[in-house]
Subunit: 248 residues, 2 copies
Amino acid sequence: MPLTGHPFVTKISRLMDMNAGNLDSLEAIMEREGTAAKRHDLIVHGAEHRDLCFVRSGYAIRYRLLRNGKRQILNVILPGDVIGFPVSFFDRATYAVVAVSNLSYSVCPLSSYVRLCYERPQFGLVLTWLAAREAAICAEHIVNLGRRTPIERLAHFLLEIHDRLLEVGCAEQTRFDLPFSQGILADVLGLSVPHLNRVMQELRAERLIVSTSRLMELPDIAGLRRLAQYQPVDLALIPAGPTAQRGL
Amino acid sequence: MPLTGHPFVTKISRLMDMNAGNLDSLEAIMEREGTAAKRHDLIVHGAEHRDLCFVRSGYAIRYRLLRNGKRQILNVILPGDVIGFPVSFFDRATYAVVAVSNLSYSVCPLSSYVRLCYERPQFGLVLTWLAAREAAICAEHIVNLGRRTPIERLAHFLLEIHDRLLEVGCAEQTRFDLPFSQGILADVLGLSVPHLNRVMQELRAERLIVSTSRLMELPDIAGLRRLAQYQPVDLALIPAGPTAQRGL
DNA sequence: CGCCCCGTTGAAATGAGTCAAGCCTTGTGG
DNA sequence: CCACAAGGCTTGACTCATTTCAACGGGGCG
């Protein structure tokens, strides 16, 4: 299956020249296409995992379960994200991943990707750049959980998802598909379900969000940003290397 | 100044063969050595930054200030860490970095490192691997802030620092230098200073830590791990590439 | 010598979690 | 096609962990 239009390609096209040669090399290492149904476990905590899964469509969550039964969601996985990062870089998975909607993805073994990096170092750099982006998102979550009030947290999270979906062409200007139950949102934001519910009502009352089952609408993005102290992240470009001159 | 014994080299030696050739190439791109006094700002929020600073010795913190005056510390920077990650990959710094002890480091421009990645792709892969490690640490912080109790948070954080220092040979088996004020610890863990103080007293009362000003001793690491549900992270090795065969 | 930072303690206020119940929707199997 | 089950959403009352505010003491540094 061709990678044209794959959200991962959309994403890295901002960072490197995805010409025919590069696209072909990437396509060549893909081992197979896969799908997973809602609620299907993609990675189980403690298992070995050595594949990179490039999500075509659908949503998933990375999470950790604690002894006392509490769950913390580390990150949500959107189209264009790589499920194996950073799990595949460890001996054993340090957390779990489960699909929250039906999901489709392309798979390649980590070792193949690494081989590709030796041949075309740009792919290694792109991965580093994506990792930097990931780190920035992660940092925002830390600020969220540590020092923002619940209502700011929720606002910030919605803006983040919206921006990430826009980046891969999976959202409209003021609305997007949000198939997360309140249980999931609560576990992302470190809140209890009842409290999250009340906080959502506050946002609705302030006319900052309009939500109907799976559809989330943001009629006042500027207001939300002010509330959440949200600042969009702008990845810098990868400095040009010899590859560019060699025309690879 | 030679890089021999540099904690960053110690760290990446687990991941790649730091033979004379690789060591020399790395040394060649270093632009200068630097030092910073305690309390010196290394990166200011919103400024441009395009350098990688490889910390030789000393401690620093990455943090974010909110409108209401609250501060969240995103991560602490220890010997062997790279100050420019991920800040240098963005147009403008999304957070600030300040030294909390006297600090010494080696500097190279990001563009030089990228050039090195084109010549020797292993350096790019190492950066990706380190980013994966960073992401895992970040994920733990999220679990900490979102779902662990204050005493578990503190225990987890101390174990993390201890392990990270051990990795670069900067800690003893059961003790290490911890030059963080309670104000800093509180802002790492998302707590208020008075509460952090009481939580520390709890840990002391349980005989899980012994601390005198800057020295932190962990007499019962197994107990601490049990309390914090701490699991050490094991980075997998980078799959071998053609470079190995070419003997670079 | 005095100042400032840091650690410590106490008391009061409050935000958020827990528990519990009811309702609505969705999906499923008879 | 209907009935039931299960999951998700919403609400209320209660509890308590944590923050806030305030004050004091010690110690290092200028």
